[in-house]
């Protein structure tokens, strides 16, 4: 099986994730879509790594997963703080960062 299939699947997942980030209003769902984008990128990396018989992509993926785990903790913390502040997780309410 050629690498193309993996890359096509990865692209599709990435686009779904991106659209999710852009279109959903719920902060938790936006965050989950973001995770989808991470994993799409990871999929692409391991696919190319295995195709080229290199280990670099695999190592990189491990790093991305570690960072994503750490980032997940922070992001969920933000979500909790946001909920406490606003009483909702609707992302349109996060509109105070302006002049």
């Amino acid at each position: 099986m050629s690498v193309n299939g993996y890359l096509i699947v990865a692209s599709i997942i990435f686009c779904i994730g991106a659209l999710g980030v852009l279109m959903r209003k719920n902060l938790i769902v936006v965050f989950m879509s973001l995770e989808l984008m991470f994993n799409a990128a990871n999929l692409g990396l391991v696919a190319v790594s295995s195709y080229l018989n290199l280990i670099d992509g695999d190592i990189f993926v491990i790093f991305v997963m570690v960072v994503a785990a750490a980032e997940a903790a922070i992001a969920l913390g933000i979500a909790v703080a946001f909920y406490r502040e606003k009483g909702t997780v609707d992302i349109d309410k996060a509109n105070e960062l302006k002049l």
Binding site: A18, V21, L22, I91, D92, A94, N95, K98, L99
Partner: protein
Amino acid sequence: MGAKDIIAWLIPLFPFAGWLLLGLLGKYFKGYAGILASVFIVISFIFSSILFFIVSYTHGFTTTLYPWVYAASFRTGVSAVIDRLSVVMLVMVTGVSAIVHIYSIGYMQGDKGFARYFSFLNLFVFSMIMLVISNNLLLLYVFWEAVGFCSYILIGFWYEKKSAVDAGKKAFIVNRVGDFGFAIGIFLLFITTGTLNYETIFTMIPSIPSITVTAIALLLFAGAVGKSAQFPLHVWLPDAMEGPTPVSALIHAATMVTAGVYMIARFHVIFSYSQFASEVVLTIGTFTAFLAAFIALTQFDIKRIIAYSTISQLGYMFMAVGIGSYTAGIFHLISHAVFKGLLFLTAGSVMHGLSGELDLRKMGGLYSKMKITAVTFIVGGLALSGIPPFSGFFSKDAILADVYNKGFYFAWIIGEITALMTAFYIFRLIFVAFFGESNVDPKVHVHESPKIMTIPMVILALFALIIGFLGIPPFNKSVFYSFLHVAFKNAYNFAPFTNNAPWYILSLISVLAGLLGIFIAYLLYIKKAVNPEKIKNIFKPVYALSYNKVYIDEIYNFIIVRPVLGFSNFLWKVIDALIIDGAVNGVASSFAFFSTKTRKIQNGMLMSYVLTLTIGVAALLFYFFIR
């Protein structure tokens, strides 16, 4: 350093220490500030006297405190020249300063700037001493400016009074004009000779082209004109009377204003090698002597009368140094310092007794109420009028006799007419203020000043009586001449004696001129043989000219002050406010305009940021693929 070097440097040290001590810790001394300052100056005076005797019995010397600028061949240190000229000046400066300091304790009693006053006064004395003893032009210029600065802060001492502040500024700005010339003169001298030390310069002067020497001399004289209040820069001195009266006595009569005369005497080599420059000095001096005496005839402010008289007497000194009679000039400088200091102190005593009244029309009959002041004032007046045996007779006569015997007849005639006017205006003041019926405001309690003020006056009066005897026997045989003339041995004798008129005839003419002036004043103001008002009406234009100070202030206002103000207004309102501020504000407001447009992008909506980001990344990827 030997003992005499240490003595020489102790003289400026004490006033300097007094300035620092009173300037920094003045408020802790309270009423003792005056006594402390006076003690310092008296110590300085004692050392000056010791130095005077050392130099009299040995010879002059040069001493360096420390090297200041030593760069390649240019060597200028903080060093002093102690010769007969400088010790005479030192004794005069510290002596008059000591007396004025003591007098000030009484005069400034209760003033809220008591300590500040004495710290400034000590700073002035320090600067004046350094000016007198410096042996190079760099140091001279520093302290030349320092005494000008002290004069400025002391004229504006009562800084709540706008007229005093304005007078201080006027003195400072008018002096700038002269000092500009002085600075250029020093630069020219440095370019020509490559050094600033007096000794080296004087040995080089004879080998320098005469046109250069003339230019240097005239530029240096410009500084003297400003500092010594000669025409056309005399306008600041009458206004300087806004300061405390002891300041007028010390700075604007006895010491600082004579710095110009001292400077020319010190640079006698330069001036004597340029006949043209010396003639300019003579002309300016003669004209100023006459002009100031003419203005003084009709003034009513007693301090201003004495101020114009100072300008006039300085004119005499410049006449003397302008004909190469340097000892006569310095002799008049010394005797003038004594009797003019006396006149100012007594005028201050009159002010003190009349609660600050200065207008001659509101005085009269003061003799019976303030006898010591009146008698000492009359002594000063007689000395100023040149009546023997008071000091002014000997010193002024020495000048006028030299002027005649060196063949400057026109200057001599003007000098004699000025002597007549001098006697008239000072005795007009005396007769109107001290005799006749009283015009004093009845609410004012007229009283004699305290002893702390009258004793210095009496001391100065005694000196005004005896100091003139240094001037006998007449001409070149006098005590003073034989003491001082060695200081001027390097002068080129450009104006040799052409006549040999005996001294008694010349003196008789001068004394007659003085007595005639007194007699006219007596007729007008005591006998009232002719009503002064009548004479005023006959000579109306002349009277108006004198009363309005020959309109010189008005002329300066019209040709200098107004155009400068107008041009400054133009610079401010058009160049600065319109063009420069306009450019800066224009840049700022154009940025503000674009910012208000672009800040719409930042709307706070998270989704729109993400969308923008995504579009941006997509665009970058697209560009990457089609490249």
